[in-house]
Each structure stands twice: as structure tokens, then as C-alpha cells.
């Protein structure tokens, strides 16, 4: 099996899927890219058994075939080659791979392509087409709120819920929660599943925003098809917590504030907060918001005052400053709204202005003060 391909074009495709490669694979063959030539197109796959990504490109080739090529070696050599055509020659008997380029050639030993694990076929699947912009926005807005708890694997992923009216993405680690809903994209029926972090990160880095993404899914797997990429991933098995039930409905204390001002004030004050709790205190009285933090162990403290638009009772509430910063960083509007009820109940953070097709709700649990 022989083929010719531009070094930079191949590298670009390989880098797109190289995020799938895992450093602690159980099967040695998974440290390879699978190269397959069918009908004059080259398809390259990478897999860690949970997630598989395939990219394809036009090439010059006379015959068809497949071979697994050591991923790290190949990436390293391509990274160091200026743009030029490379000729790959594969010996089907001993799986030796030779790459010939302007200055010389390199040789390595691959594996039989037939030994590469097959990607699961998708039976009885549903399908929906969503714009890449919506998916990448949804990932950006939710991924940071996912948990890392091995005991609650469902919370380590993003929950996707499709209905004829809207599509919703939810992430939570039990301290904070994000619900991102789009009404400009719908599904024909109702369904839901949980996507793991890794494929979401891969989607995030591969989506350009202007493409249409075809998503097919069943109970165990999901397949994303866009541009010349196919991403297949296993879904997280389990029941997602009833997130709607924890979103408080009555929140009479409403703070409206400039997002960037609020964010930079929290950033400064939190420098002086306790290094394990990252706790800061918000004190609301009249139209003034005071932020304060202290670290008793080191006698560090900081206080700032901001003018704001506040309607509600005077109150003091504590939050983990890291959570607030992450959330404020992931909103885009110039003004945000923080709705609260009591110092022991969740605060809701959302953009001040409503967007026609997009609804973002972020929720953060407070830290108890005076303890």
C-alpha cells in the first residue's frame, strides 16, 4: 500500500484527532493512528476505546488497504518537516512503514490495521442536526461546571436534553450548576443522554462554528459528524440528578451589576481570601455592594465597595470566589443579575438582558459565614 500526501495537510488532520490518544492505553495498538484507504480517500482514526475520532482527506493512491502507524513517531516527524509531499510505502507482510521526503526517508514498524478495534455501529439511533456554533457555545458555557467526583460519574459529564421546543445542556458538580437552553434548535422527539468530558473537549477544539453537525445517538453511544470528521463516543451510563428541583423559584433579592467590574473586584479581593476555602463575603445594603475576604491565619484581609442596583433586603452572603470568577468569565453580557433568597440558599447568576434564542442560568451554592 502506497500513497502520497502533503506533510502539512496530514499533520493538520492528525493534530485534530490526536487529542483522543491516551497516555495509559490498555491495548498497545491504541498508541497508533489507523490509516485506511478506500476509494481514493484516506481515513485516519485514533481511539481510546471510549472515544474514537476519524478524519478523512483526498489523496493520490493506487491501491486500497489499512495499516496502524505509531502516533507519536509520526506526529514528531511531521511537525519537523517543511511543507512537501511525502510518500508512504507500507510493506503488507511485515507492516514496515517507510516515509520518503525531500531530504531522505524514515522507517518504522506499524501494526496490522485489522487488529485496530472497530468503532461500534449505531443501531436504532435518533438523529438531529445542530449548528456547530450552538454546540461549541453550549460546551464553552457548561464544561467548567462539571464535577470530578469518581463516585458520581454522571456528574462528570454534560447532560443533553432534546425536546420539540428546545435543546438544553446541563452541568453540575453539586456546588455550582449551569443550564444552557437554545430555542432556535429543536429535535423531533424527546430524549436525553450524558456526554463525557473528553469528547466534548475534542468537539470544542475541532468545531469552527460555521458548520452543521449531524448528531446520531442511541442508549449507549453518540456520533458527531461534521466537516471531514466523525467522532464516536460512549455515553455515561446512569441517571442524571433532578436539576430542576434544586433551582430555587422565589428569589426576592436581586442584584444588577456590571459584569467586568464585579469580576475584577472579586479577583482583587480573593487574593486575600483563605487559600483552602477561597471564601469571600458579599454584603448588600441599599445600593451598595461591599466585598470582603480575610485569611485569619496570615492576618490578610481586603475590602472593596461597588455601587450597584440592588432591590431586596439587606443581607450578607458568602461564596467561593473561584466559582464566582469561573461563572462571570463564562458570561458575555456587560451586565449580570444575581438573584438570592437567603444566605444559606443558592444564588442564581444570569445575563441581565434576555436573549431571544438563548437562556443561560448559573447557580452557585453559598459558603456559610461565621464558622
Amino acid at each position: 500500500m502506497n500513497f502520497v500526501i502533503s506533510s502539512t495537510s496530514l499533520l493538520k488532520h492528525l493534530q485534530g484527532i490526536s487529542g483522543v490518544l491516551s497516555t495509559n492505553n490498555t491495548l498497545p495498538i491504541l498508541d497508533n493512528f489507523l490509516f485506511e484507504i478506500v476509494d481514493g480517500r484516506l481515513a485516519v482514526s485514533a481511539s481510546d476505546l471510549e472515544t474514537t475520532m476519524r478524519t478523512s482527506m483526498e489523496i493520490e493512491a493506487k491501491e486500497e488497504g489499512k495499516i496502524a502507524i505509531p502516533a507519536k513517531l509520526l506526529l514528531d516527524v511531521l511537525k519537523n518537516l517543511p511543507d512537501q509531499p511525502c510518500t508512504f510505502s507500507v510493506n503488507p507482510d511485515n507492516f514496515a512503514v517507510e516515509i520518503a521526503y525531500d531530504n531522505g526517508k524514515s522507517k518504522m514498524v506499524g501494526y496490522n490495521g485489522d487488529d485496530f478495534p472497530r468503532t461500534p455501529g449505531l443501531e436504532q439511533s435518533n438523529s438531529i442536526t445542530i449548528s456547530g456554533e450552538i454546540i461549541s457555545n453550549a460546551i464553552n458555557k457548561t464544561l467548567f461546571a462539571t464535577g470530578v467526583d469518581d463516585l458520581r460519574p454522571v456528574m462528570s459529564g454534560v447532560f443533553c436534553e432534546f425536546s420539540p421546543e428546545s435543546i438544553t445542556f446541563v452541568a453540575t458538580d453539586a456546588h455550582k450548576l449551569v443550564r444552557y437552553t437554545r430555542t432556535d434548535s429543536q429535535a423531533s422527539g424527546s430524549s436525553s443522554f450524558i456526554l463525557p468530558k473528553k469528547p466534548l473537549n475534542l468537539l470544542k477544539s475541532n468545531l469552527k462554528g460555521d458548520e452543521e453537525v449531524k448528531l446520531e445517538y442511541n442508549d449507549s453511544n453518540a456520533v458527531f459528524t461534521f466537516n471531514d470528521v466523525v467522532l464516536v463516543c460512549r455515553l455515561i451510563d446512569g441517571k442524571y440528578p433532578n436539576y430542576e428541583a434544586v433551582i430555587p423559584k422565589e428569589n426576592p433579592n436581586v442584584l444588577r451589576i456590571d459584569r467586568l467590574q464585579f469580576l475584577s473586584s472579586i479577583k482583587r479581593v480573593s487574593i486575600f481570601s483563605n487559600k483552602t476555602t477561597h471564601q469571600i463575603k458579599l454584603k448588600l445594603a441599599g445600593s451598595e455592594l461591599s466585598l470582603s475576604a480575610e485569611d485569619i491565619d496570615f492576618s490578610n484581609e481586603a475590602n472593596e465597595r461597588l455601587t450597584c442596583n440592588y432591590a431586596g433586603d439587606d443581607m450578607e452572603i458568602g461564596f467561593n470566589s473561584r466559582f464566582l470568577m469561573e461563572m462571570l468569565n463564562n458570561l458575555d453580557t456587560s451586565e449580570v443579575r444575581l438573584e438570592m433568597s437567603e444566605p444559606s440558599r443558592a444564588g442564581l447568576l444570569m445575563p441581565s438582558e434576555d436573549n431571544e434564542h438563548e437562556d443561560i442560568l448559573m447557580l452557585v451554592m453559598p459558603v456559610m459565614l461565621n464558622r
Binding site: 469518581d150 463516585l151 453539586a174 434544586v246 471564601q279 447557580l363
Partner: protein, 347 residues
């Protein structure tokens, strides 16, 4: 207490009196937990492999340990302590620190109190005890070894510095075989030589304990006698008759160790965040693998999957003679409380 386990056995069984005995397993893999003074004459020491002990002392009698009984006696002795002070910090079943600065019997002499306690232990329990009396825990502990067995030693405030200067480095409490040989490499053989080193030098080569050494040799130790010492870890481990070579056999054993650990965790009513698996290989090198999770756990069904992951995470480099599971970052530590002030969603 002097040769505690062995003395208890000799007390309970008159046939063993005056004979060299070792408490511990006699089998191939057994270890001596305690040796009577008769056995010590032959060079039998605690923590020695039973096989070696039997070689050194062919008449050695091995006695199976009865921990319930030791615990019972330990409690008896502790109740004597409590007649003098409430500030009792148990170090093990047979050792404790007592702060008698203000005592219940209004006796201003710590040496006399120690004597009285030792007499009472002899009369009421029937065992010999040794005591060390000094200005801090460290010096008292070192002093208690000087007139062992059945003796006591007082190191008064004006004698402390001189005493520590003349003390060989391996007699320092907290300096074991490894640290001692490291100290020797640095030319430190006595307290005096230790005292000549700067704090910077000691912390550079001995880390955190360097600071501790710097202080104790100057008679400075500000650690109070803590009646209820906070537990920092809970562990269960097991040595096997035969080395285990496959992960499946290891998991089978870890399963039993996990049951035991769960029992201990429930009994002490604590939960922990860091799970550590300890593997001691047939060449006696030890490896630990650990993982910290976000939640405090104490049930086997929660920690065992992590133990499994840790075992499969990397191939054991040799066959294994001992396995153990430890839980640390317990929820009784001070800073864990401030973290729990973070409220959670009610899922």
C-alpha cells in the same frame, strides 16, 4: 510497660515465667511483637522475623498474641493514670504521656508521682513499668528508656541540655535506623554534634523534621500533652503466608482487608478522602499508590472501586508479601470543617 505483651503472657501463665518467650506468629512469615527479657538476652527483639528469632534462641517459646487481653490491661493501667491527671496522651497500648504539672493528688514532685504510679501498677495489675520524668514529652520519653526495666529516671530542667548533648543520636525518639545512618553520614553521632548544625542545614537535609531536631536538642518542644489525639489515618493490612503474584489474588485479599477497614472506620466514626494502597514486595521494598477524591467516604462499596483502580493502574513489579489499605485526610481534621462550610446542592 516493660516487655508488655510478653509480661502479660507470663503473668497469666505461670509456666512461662522465667523462660524466653516471644509473642507473635511462629510460622515462616511471623514477626515477634514482643520478647520477654529472658529472650532479649539472646538478641531477640521486637519486629524481628520469627525465623531469625528462633535461630538466635532455640528454646524460644512462641505465644499467640491476645490483643483483647492487652487492651483490657491497658485500660486498667489508664484508669490508674486518671487518678492523677486528665491530661493523658496514649502513645500505644502500653505507653502514655502524662502532664502532672497540675495534678489531682496535689503532689508537687513528678518523680514521686511516677514512683507511686509504678507501685500501684505492680500492686493492682501485677506488671513492671518504667517511667521517664522531664520538662517535655521528648525528653521524658528518652529518659524512660534509661533505667528500663522496672526503673525510672528524672531529668531536671538544669540537666536537660547536658543530657541531650551526650545522648547518642540513635537514642533520640523519632530517629530510627534510616535517619540515624543519614545523621552518621553527616558526621552527627551525638546530641552535641546535632546542636552544632544550623537550622538551615538541618531543614535542607532532613526536611520538616530538621526543624524538630534543631529544637529538641535545645530542650525546646512545645507540643502539649493532648488527651484526645486526633487520628490522622485508619488502616488495615495483612501479611501473607505465600507471596501473591497476580492482581486477582491480591484483590481477593484486599477484599478482606477492605471489610476490616470498613469495620474500623465505622467503629471510629470517621470518613476520609485519600485512599492509599500499600504493597510490600517479596524483597521488602514498599510501594504506595494513592488517590484523593472530592468526598469523605467510609464504606467499602465506595472505596473498594478506587482500590481496584490503584491495583490495576500499574503492574506490581514483583510478587507481594503484604497488602494494606489506608484512609487519610479524615473528616476530623480542623481544615476539613471549614471546607464543609461550602453548601451543596441537594441531589
Amino acid at each position: 510497660m516493660d516487655a508488655f505483651y510478653a509480661s502479660v503472657e507470663q503473668m497469666d501463665n505461670p509456666e512461662l515465667r522465667g523462660k524466653p518467650i516471644a509473642v507473635g506468629g511462629s510460622k515462616e512469615r511471623g514477626v515477634v511483637a514482643a520478647a520477654s527479657y529472658e529472650a532479649r538476652k539472646f538478641g531477640v527483639k521486637s519486629a524481628m522475623a520469627s525465623v531469625i528469632a528462633a535461630r538466635r534462641c532455640p528454646h524460644l517459646i512462641f505465644v499467640k498474641p491476645r490483643f483483647e487481653r492487652y487492651k483490657e490491661i491497658s485500660n486498667q493501667i489508664r484508669s490508674i493514670f486518671f487518678d492523677y491527671t486528665d491530661l493523658v496522651e496514649p502513645l500505644s497500648l502500653d505507653e502514655a504521656f502524662l502532664d502532672v504539672t497540675n495534678n489531682k493528688v496535689n503532689n508537687p514532685s513528678a518523680s514521686l508521682i511516677a514512683e507511686e504510679i509504678r507501685i500501684r501498677i505492680k500492686d493492682e495489675v501485677g506488671l513492671n513499668a518504667s517511667a521517664g520524668i522531664s520538662i517535655n514529652k521528648f525528653t521524658a520519653k528518652v529518659a524512660s528508656d534509661i533505667n528500663k526495666p522496672n526503673g525510672q529516671k528524672t531529668i531536671g530542667p538544669d540537666e536537660v541540655l547536658k543530657f541531650l548533648e551526650n545522648l547518642p543520636i540513635n537514642k533520640f525518639f523519632g530517629v530510627g535506623k534510616v535517619t540515624a545512618s543519614k545523621m552518621h553520614l553527616h558526621g552527627i553521632f551525638t546530641g552535641k554534634q546535632l546542636k552544632e548544625q544550623t537550622m538551615g542545614y538541618l531543614t535542607r537535609y532532613f526536611g520538616k523534621s530538621g526543624q524538630h531536631f534543631y529544637n529538641i536538642v535545645r530542650g525546646i518542644q512545645n507540643s502539649e500533652v493532648q488527651p484526645d489525639r486526633i487520628r490522622k489515618s485508619i488502616a488495615a493490612e495483612r501479611t501473607f503466608l505465600k507471596d501473591l503474584s497476580t492482581e486477582d489474588f491480591m484483590l481477593e485479599q484486599l477484599d478482606k482487608i477492605g471489610d476490616e477497614l470498613e469495620k474500623r472506620l465505622i467503629k471510629s466514626n470517621v470518613k476520609g478522602k485519600t485512599i492509599t494502597v500499600k504493597l510490600k514486595y517479596s524483597d521488602f521494598t514498599t510501594q504506595t499508590r494513592s488517590k484523593t477524591i472530592a468526598e469523605f467516604i467510609h464504606l467499602k462499596r465506595d472505596f473498594f472501586p478506587i482500590v481496584k483502580d490503584l491495583i490495576y493502574q500499574e503492574k506490581p513489579k514483583d510478587s507481594v508479601r503484604l497488602l494494606g489499605i489506608t484512609l487519610t485526610k479524615l473528616n476530623n481534621e480542623a481544615d476539613s470543617k471549614s471546607i464543609s462550610a461550602q453548601l451543596k446542592l441537594d441531589f
